[in-house]
Amino acid sequence: MIHPTFALLSNFSGAFDFIFHTREAQTGGVHVGGLHQVLSFTWEHVKLSGAAILIACAVAIPIGLVLGHAGKGELVAITISNVGRAVPSLALIAFFVAYIGVGFTNVTLALVLLAIPPILTNTYIGVRQVDPEVIDAGRGMGLTAVQVVRRIELPLALSSMFGGIRTSAVNVVATATIAPLAGVLTLGDFILSANVYGADGRLAGAILVALLAVAVELAFATLQRVVSPKGLKVST
């Protein structure tokens, strides 16, 4: 056995080499790795995740707003988030594969299901957290229900809402890693088909996925800061 740290170094240098230069596949025949393939897999990864998040938002946010405004379905929202968290992403993908089939659309759907709970719940909570006095004042000034939602509850819930989207985005990006099991070639393929890309490829895949996830996290964190109303950030 070689000394761990040394092994580590050699491993990682190999991984980076894989990212930047193509090489013969383990199984021989064709060439793998290199920026071009990395980029195409990354693009697929992003495309898959993005689609899932967008659809999830389109579904979850309206429901969250309505439930929150009505103050109904506390139980529903909370249960959804708990169960949602408990459902293993792997099982979800497998379930879709077993029952619906492989391919981009199916995986996207699976990821949408995965992404909905946090967005729904955070939107709901965001709306519920709005100071009732403020809403009372709004209604008292003659805002209609729609105006209350649009002018008061939505802006004040934005930050919490984006918190949810952020959580979902990170989960989805992570789960998209196992998409190759269902025939969608994301960065996960480097990891899952190690016998094609070799140990270097697999490590490279791990690094790339990690980087992508962190990038997404940071992006959404910034976004969340940007959208949260200025009035809530000012120091008293």
């Binding site: 100071d131 003659g142 209609t144 008061i152 809530l232």
Partner: protein
């Protein structure tokens, strides 16, 4: 500006409760029980009563934040039931205890909310906002701050300004000063009364503090548990003739003194003082004493300012001496609150106090006796100041 200001002093509408009743779902006892009272346009009507007696409920019935179970409420003779809630509310200013400013909007945007709903153009809204900031005497560089950056008192005033934005004929205020400590509270009350003197809105004002009620109200409606109207009267009436024991307890044992705080010395018709000028023959003075209310003559100087009381000994000479035995303490001013004047009289041993006008000239004499006579006479009621005048000085 003058023109705009006109706008703020414009409309006011009467508010009339007719057998208004509210029974909350799942509650058998009603929160408001066939409440009937009329608030004349431009008056402040204070709803007062112990916690849980239905003040807030009564208030929120007016702008239909809560729907009537029975009876009706009329604005300028028109039933509120006929009008769509949202539209109705835009025509009614609403200030709640916790102010409830929109934290995500600037002060300007907060105040401009209703005008924006009414589709005014930016120009007009901007002008209106400035005007209102001035009206509630806030520096207009606050316009672009956020509520979090204001002090409690400032927020309070923004809340009022926001409620006034569309110049509503009626304002509802639920314990607007409840959250504020006694010291600033007084200041805000006075500011608000000065403001009202200017804008003359019809105002329904909720409080559970009887002193605030007496201070702020043209008329006070005392509610008892279950939303039953115990008495509806002007503050002086309330203090002089409490309808029943509940009201009497509620206004407190020292209600006569409370009443005095509604009066200024000028409202009392003062005693004539037998005046005396130094060097004049004492004989004339004695003559004057005969039909005077005060047993002692008051020595005044050439400008008519009080110098002191003349004793028997002083009158022994045949001309009035320069310096009298007893100084003319305490000196009371026409604008003093009678309550404070009484306090001064009691403090200084004497029963009488010379009253002077703004130039310091003697205008009459005030005495404890006079005050008690006056209180028991019905005139106290008519004479009592409206809330606005109470802070004139």
């Amino acid at each position: 500006m003058a023109g705009d200001r006109a706008a703020t002093t414009g409309t006011a509408a009467s508010v009339e409760f007719r057998q208004a009743t509210k029974r909350y779902r799942g509650q058998d006892a009603p929160a408001i029980q066939s409440l009937t009272l009329e608030v004349p346009a431009g008056d402040i009507c204070v709803l007062v009563g112990p916690s849980g007696c239905g003040k807030t409920t009564a208030l929120r019935l007016v702008n239909r934040m809560i729907e009537l179970t029975d009876g009706d409420i009329l604005l300028d003779g028109q039933s509120i039931r006929k009008r769509p809630a949202a539209e109705l509310r835009r025509g009614i200013g609403y200030v709640i205890q916790q102010v409830g400013l929109f934290p995500h909007l600037t002060i300007g945007e907060n105040i401009g909310t209703v005008p924006r709903l009414l589709g005014w153009d930016r120009q007009r809204i901007a002008e209106r906002v400035n005007e209102l900031l001035e009206l509630v005497s806030l520096p207009d560089d606050l316009r672009d701050r956020y509520p979090a950056q204001l002090s409690g008192g400032q927020r309070q005033r923004v809340g009022v300004a926001r409620a006034l934005a569309a110049d509503p004929p009626v304002m509802l205020m639920d314990e607007p000063f409840g959250a504020i400590d006694p010291i600033n509270r007084e200041r805000l009350q006075n500011q608000f009364l000065r403001l009202q003197a200017e804008i003359r809105k019809t105002i329904l004002f909720v409080t559970h503090d009887i002193d605030e009620a007496i201070k702020m109200g043209d008329r006070v409606a005392v509610l008892r548990k279950g939303g039953v109207l115990a008495q509806y009267a002007t503050p002086p009436e309330l203090l002089m003739h409490p309808a029943d024991d509940f009201v009497e307890d509620f206004v407190g044992a020292d209600r006569a003194l409370k009443r005095l705080s509604l009066l200024r010395v000028r409202d009392v018709d003062l005693w004539k003082a037998p005046l005396a000028h130094a060097g004049r023959p004492t004989a004339d003075v004695r003559a004057a004493l005969a039909e005077a209310d005060v047993p002692h003559p008051l020595l005044i100087d050439s400008e008519g300012r009080p110098v002191g009381w003349l004793s028997e000994r002083d009158l022994a000479h045949d001309t009035v001496p320069e310096t009298p035995d007893t100084a003319a303490e305490p000196i009371v001013e026409l604008d003093d609150i009678v309550r404070d004047a009484l306090s001064d009289l009691l403090r200084s041993d004497t029963q009488y106090g010379p009253v002077v006008d703004e130039h310091g000239r003697v205008a009459g004499v005030l005495s404890v006796e006079l005050i008690s006579h006056f209180l028991s006479s019905s005139r106290a009621t008519e004479q009592a100041m409206g809330p606005a005048e109470r802070v004139a000085s």
